[in-house]
Amino acid sequence: MGMSPKELAAYRIQLIRDATGFQKKPERIPNISFFVTWKILDAGYKLTEAMSDYDIMEKFVLYHMQHYRFDQVFDVGVRNAYRVSKAMQSSSYIVDDDAEVVSYKDFAYCKPEETDQFAANYYKFLWEVGMPRKFPWWGKDAPLSVIQNAYNEQNQFFAFSQHIRQVLYEDLGIPFNGAPNPYATISMETVLAYVFGMRGVAIMMRRDKGKLHAVLDALDALFFTPQLEKLKQIEGPNLNYSFDYIAAILAHNFMNISQWEEFYWPYLKKVLDVLAEKKCNCVLFMEGSALRFADYFKDYPKGLITLLPEQDDVFELRKAMPNVAILGGMKNSMLGNGTKQECLDYAKRLIDELGADGGYLFSQDKMGSYRIDANPENLKAVCDFVLDYRPSQS
């Protein structure tokens, strides 16, 4: 008798929490999908048609999870809020069906000389300066129908995000990924992604620290600090979910160590300290490289941090941070260009060297975006192997 979807989801949560916790050798290594737009192409759809149609979105996500039998998935089709963006008449997304590429334009809505205005009243600045800069129609004669349509699209987007997670749970036993805990956004990520942009932040960290701090302080007061206070109120791990907290970290790539210590680490440390005290687990998706920040993470207790690295050698990471579980490692370049045997040999090495005693969750080393990120036959063989393989438990 097979397990019911509900039982399967509980079993998978246990596998994942055993692996992140190091407390118990998992029965097998959990297999987690980090594929994003690759899923669309693999299921035979064009990017624009799939990103514009929630029925197709549901189909390609279900196909992906059923065909490859992953235990968990990070992106349930909603990585790009493409329909909402189109409803706002935004030109941020460039989707090229022929090249099979989704691009997103870097955009900064605040200029360094506007810092005082930004810090004095965030929402007023956003409404009167940021929005018209991003959406030129947002002004004196803004069409109400466009706003209504975008607002409706936003609500549909959130509704689909919930719906697809529920379908995955009820039909396929895929657990809910991240617990609905308060999320304390590190202000530097917001500033980098939207306020000043990558170039602006890089310049201001060197030339305009005071103004940068003023903006960070304004965002902290509105978002980071209240959310952190709410996070302090949670009881502890939520065992209905695979992870208690999932954070994406990008801004560290633009910083030297002293900038990291000034602008980023004090905030991330506050979050990690709370999660450690609550005995929660958390995923840190560190885009780019994480290795040079190993000293900041290596003293936390086992079971707190699961690192999802991108460019680092995962075997080096394990040596540098033996207390940190690793999620990822399977090279997309190998899945895309290697032979099936190369892929299987590397998958076995990852599991044997990183996961035999816990502390490892199988996944890919990149957000699978392009067709070249995996040959479907290689991926299928690897997923079947991970599902069947039992690492030596000596």
Binding site: A81, V84, S85, M88, S90, S92, Y109, N121, Y123, K124, L126, W127, E128, G130, M131, P132, K134, F135, W138, G139, K140, D141, A142, P143, L144, S145, I147, Q148, A150, Y151, Q154, N155, A193, Y194
Partner: protein
């Protein structure tokens, strides 16, 4: 219907938009409608 709205002043247009937009929040609860609109612009700026 090509109704337009003047969004140049934050305080005034937030109030006006909260009244005019069809939202799943009753009109009696204007503070919740305005909070939902602030969350809306906070999300839109990321797109």
């Amino acid at each position: 219907m090509n109704e337009t709205i003047d969004l140049t002043n934050f305080e005034e247009s937030l109030e006006l938009l909260a009244e005019k937009l069809e939202m799943p929040i009753p009109k009696e609860n204007m503070e919740a409608r305005k909070a939902a609109l602030l969350a809306f612009v906070n999300f839109m700026i990321t797109l």
